[in-house]
Symmetry: C2
Subunit: 216 residues, 2 copies
């Protein structure tokens, strides 16, 4: 099995980094292969812009997704986009490791979605959901939060955390990536070493159940 | 009344640009003042990173929001962050003008949230929602979509568009910005000049009702 981990955190001492390392360690066993896209380390540019295309057909309307599709089909996307697309295509599973910032993806990871999930590559006209071009790959969100679990209960101050996964999971489904059950480590800025260890153990069990035992 | 428009689109011929211009034109009347943050034009950096701080207290844990709060209180945030914070504080209303990309904010705008809504500036411990530090300001999402209105109906392929506004509105509420009714222009890549004009007229009516007539 081939696994891509897209990792979006600026700090090597973070719990996100520890979760990423744990996943690499667990998933590399057997015949599996793991690749990590470390977006901060790669200085990944999250801003979709006209320089994403080596050439722009002057006859096309100045619409990002239209030019994106044309550039993909003509192999004219910028190198950094092509590299990420190649890694994603290579994998059977993609894990997104990130802190929940403002109830969503950190900008560097949102921009990975904006630039990598190109028309023609990830989806196309009538090629979405079960016929999305990244089908039948799987995707797993591994998320840390600042607020505790109680805040993300249906009666907590933020409400059920699933509502914040909705736009992300819908995006993944649209391009044919089936979401696996997410893993959430709550309030990671305030936990002690023992709780960290417990979360790392739970993450190991989670990956084992969601990925390794499935033999995707 | 003072209005900040945060505008996130790379293309001057886009319908987003036309909506932004329409808002400036409508809202500048009377004693109102309007400022635009044109994120693409400003080459706004969306990636929250350690260079956001002129100094980092070595005694603090390497946690972005902790250092962000400390840097804000000591006036040590990067200049571009301070400028946006000043504009937001100056305004009574903020309008976010953006295309819905992957059912959420374009990365350049998500990064504006990540970097501008600093602890200490936008919220603090127990200073959130009705006591959020940006209270009693208002916020309005003005959004364009690629899919038609039918796709965003409860029984459409994406479902009710409100579910995708949820994380954004929750963020705004958290920092004390009360969301006004959003404006949505659907399928803007495929509409003709007449439909464009209709949307611009509707937007004018919307701003009149939601902002001008309220005399916020």
């Amino acid at each position: 099995m081939k696994i891509l981990i897209v990792y979006a955190h600026p700090e090597p001492t973070s719990f996100n980094h520890a979760l990423k390392d744990k996943a690499v360690q667990i998933l590399q066993k057997g015949n599996n292969e793991v690749i990590v896209s470390d977006l901060y380390n790669q200085k990944f540019n999250p801003t979709a812009n006209w320089n994403d295309f080596k050439m722009i057909d002057p006859n096309l309307p100045r619409q990002y997704s239209v030019i994106q599709r044309d550039a993909y089909l003509k192999h004219q996307l910028a190198e950094d986009i092509q590299k990420e697309q190649d890694k994603l295509r290579w994998g059977d599973v993609v894990i997104f490791q990130f802190p929940l910032w403002w109830f969503g993806l950190p900008a560097i990871l949102k921009g990975w979605f904006d630039r990598i999930f190109a028309a023609g590559y990830a989806y196309d006209k009538e090629k979405w959901f079960s016929t999305g071009l990244l089908h039948p790959r799987k995707a797993l969100l591994s998320v840390t939060t600042q607020s505790p679990l109680s805040a993300y209960q249906p009666d907590g101050i933020h409400g059920d955390i699933k509502q914040f996964f909705k736009p992300i999971h819908h995006t993944l489904r649209f391009v044919g990536l089936s979401p696996l059950e997410p893993f959430v480590a709550y309030a990671v800025m305030n936990i002690d070493l023992q709780e960290r260890k417990r979360y790392l153990t739970n993450y190991q069990l989670h990956l084992d159940k969601q990925i390794l035992q499935r033999r995707i």
